[in-house]
Assembly symmetry: C2
Homo-oligomer: 124 residues x 2
């Protein structure tokens, strides 16, 4: 049985600010795919169809739209290499890598959550 660790939660003073921070963060990171796409490109630069293959279930329309959006917000960089035919490489920016801790925590929590959901399904 786990005891709840009494840890530093945001204090009341910090809370209003934290709320605003959270809302601002979610404003640019919203949607089903953005964080996953950023993570994928942090792991390695990729081409359109490579991303499409890795992120299961995303349609080319949505992928194109999300990539444009992420590029506008400086999370990824799109580079056209003049090979024949041209290669288009998407890669993470320094700025997107400032999300590393967020992504790491979210990934940890996602794993925990999946375990919890599995467990609660066993019980029902």
């Amino acid at each position: 049985m786990k005891t709840i660790e009494e840890q530093e939660l945001p204090t009341k003073d910090e809370c209003a600010g934290s709320l605003r921070n959270i809302i601002d963060a979610l404003y640019v990171l919203n949607g089903k795919w953005k964080i996953a796409l950023i993570l994928s490109l942090i792991q390695s630069p990729k081409r359109f169809n490579e991303i499409k293959k890795e992120i299961d279930g995303i349609s080319p329309k949505i992928l194109a739209k999300e990539l444009k959006d992420l590029e506008l917000n400086d999370f990824i960089k799109r580079t056209v290499y003049p090979t024949i035919p041209v290669s288009i490489i998407y890669e993470s920016t320094d700025y997107s890598r400032t999300l590393k801790n967020v992504i790491a925590e979210l990934s940890n929590w996602g794993e925990l959550h999946r375990e919890k959901v599995k467990e609660s399904m066993r019980k029902e």
Copy 2:
């Protein structure tokens, strides 16, 4: 195919796992308000109209819907106290507090991001 030093890079399995974790996490945390609501109730238990006042811009319909959703997913607890008239108190659960690190990182990042946006607006 990649033949270079594959040992030193994160494995494909690890990448795919992280991606899956992220997607699973976002599945329950999606939307504009959920994380903010969880944070608000981690900070202190509150009544409906107190939350409404704190979370600026949320409509009662959306708030009611989000609270139901969060309760179903065990992120918050709704308790009716038999005062006259009844008081209804929403509070965080142990489970929602497992999001503490995610929320802290997201808040840090949100602050950084707001600074960045402000700066880029000064330049334009």
